[in-house]
Symmetry: C2
């Protein structure tokens, strides 16, 4: 997750590309696979599955599969996942506080190069 600014590539990231956004989506309660695809605009099912499996493996979320047809699967954040979310919010704060400075440094660097 790039913390806080998608338009500019900032060197602060936690997990893979979607980990952070998934945790945010799960913050307020369980969500289904298809309910995650909507806010996570543009994520393909393959990549979403991969991210969810990795996060389940690491204990950041729980996967509840209901044996129905059509299938229904709910994802739920764990306590450990919440600590990670908290850490991510810290990095978001860092970005918010220093992004201007970083972009300014980039502009100055550009001008020196010219």
């Amino acid at each position: 997750m790039f913390s806080g600014c998608e338009e500019v590539s900032v060197p602060v990231r936690i997990g893979d590309k979607w980990t952070g956004k998934i945790l945010v989506c799960l913050k307020d309660g369980k969500r289904r696979f298809s309910e995650l695809q909507v806010p996570l605009q543009g994520v393909t099912p393959k990549v979403l599955t991969e991210s969810l499996r990795a996060m389940e493996r690491d204990g950041f979320l729980l996967r509840h599969a209901h044996p129905e047809v059509p299938p229904r699967v709910e994802y739920e954040i764990t306590d450990l996942g919440r600590t990670l979310l908290e850490l991510m919010e810290t990095t978001c704060d860092w970005t918010a506080a220093h992004l201007t400075e970083l972009l300014q440094a980039r502009r100055a660097y550009q001008e020196r190069a010219v």
Copy 2:
């Protein structure tokens, strides 16, 4: 930078592979290119240069090139770089606090799969 545990891949990382270690190396004062290559065991000059250039561009360090032969270049951490280092230490703390729990989750996941 994987924060605090190299042996296990943990989904907490800041910058590219070497950013974190470079900042740590510069924490206590200026260092030359060759002085960075030593503690950063195994980094090739190409990759080290790429990392240093990116960090210079973003304002995390300053590059002092002395016009001598053979060349002498010193790298120095900036205030902005120090705030990033601080953030990284926070993520290291998170890892230290939760790595056991994460590994335990992985083992449990493994066993469920078997």
